[in-house]
Symmetry: C2
Subunit: 226 residues, 2 copies
Amino acid sequence: MSVVNNPKRGDATREALIQAAIDVFGHDGFDASSTRRIANAAGVNQAAIGYHFGGKQGLYEAVFGHIVSQMQIRMVPVAERAIASLELIQGSAAERRHMALDLLDLVFSAFIDLFGEESATGWVRLVLREQQDPTPAFHILYDGLMGRMLRLVTHLVSVASGLDEASEACRVRTSMLLGQVLVFHVARGTTSPHLNWNSLGQDQLTLLKQQFRIALEAQFPRGVST
Amino acid sequence: MSVVNNPKRGDATREALIQAAIDVFGHDGFDASSTRRIANAAGVNQAAIGYHFGGKQGLYEAVFGHIVSQMQIRMVPVAERAIASLELIQGSAAERRHMALDLLDLVFSAFIDLFGEESATGWVRLVLREQQDPTPAFHILYDGLMGRMLRLVTHLVSVASGLDEASEACRVRTSMLLGQVLVFHVARGTTSPHLNWNSLGQDQLTLLKQQFRIALEAQFPRGVST
DNA sequence: GACGATTTTAATCACTCGATAAATAAATCA
DNA sequence: TGATTTATTTATCGAGTGATTAAAATCGTC
């Protein structure tokens, strides 16, 4: 009870293991990452993984719990702001369209920033790998954040485009929007040499947001109305 | 000399190993795939991998050689047709823009078909994994096909948009186009439940091409001209 | 059918893996 | 302090890894 917050004895070890695991798992994937390397990177003993997380799989899932909470810190305020704005406005269709476009820009800007953070290099790879072929850890991601964000964005696209929210067309277009951002991480092997970008710095992120906005406005033009 | 084509004795074994390796590597990744499982799936002995390909890594690279040749069969004719069309036309800027848009649609349609083929489920995962974090095998892909296709598409986008081919803006927009297609494979974990698609059948591919064309035309409008 | 070359197989190597039990250390509380 | 719980470490287990060797089988050719 000396310090506030009451940190239990093993908290430091657990934290160190999760941080190291994000790096190692993110760099080499689940299978190629040995528990010994992770433990070594964390400065603790290999057996500590079994003690604190039950095993390698348990550590992997704990890592995703950590990632989701980090993503939530960044995205939830933005999402709530967008939802609040949407509920407030009740003008003409054109006005709501206008608003939805601004909110899409807001949400995707946050998304681009999130994926471009310095500390993100580790966990972004993990998230994308899990996207590609989901393991049980994927549900932690989807239920915790991705699913909710996707529903919000789909709704915004629906308002911005006039497409029925439940239609396949609307959902396809929503996914395509997502792809326009993800591609710079997912197809890094191709985009990176093509753009001479060896990393996503502030300059690159700015350009990305800029170009995304242009593409967004073009895809769902403001002027067109009923 | 009994059969034509002079198939050497070990060709059947090599072919079986490559086919099995595409499935196993594609499903579980390089590290999680054991040479014994691959050999078993191919119906040959594990030592045959060492004999024919030098080792696990050699087999992995041979797989990518095979994939590239398969992709080339599908994409090279389309690419050559596009290049030929571009060189022929020399009308007004508006006409060239028009043509470039049609060619973009052509190339990406082929791309969508390629990634949607029944037999593709195996190697698509492999290609995307390699995109995400390139190993030496990535160069086989990039030099063999991806790089060339990307240059072609960049040129088409340049003509269609009026952006300088060498500009970052043009290349970012090109990558974004690519992302609009890739997302359905790369973020399958998210798009698949969102769209209630458990696989990419003919209906899904048709809808994809349809929506992509709409998004493409919107992003690079035909009407606008000098 | 015998020969040499190519291919396939069985057997084994040294090694790394994740998990775990037993021993030790540290903190907590009576 | 001594007892008890909690945490960390050391050491080891069996399973599975990729690679390699040497023997066996298969082939074309004479």
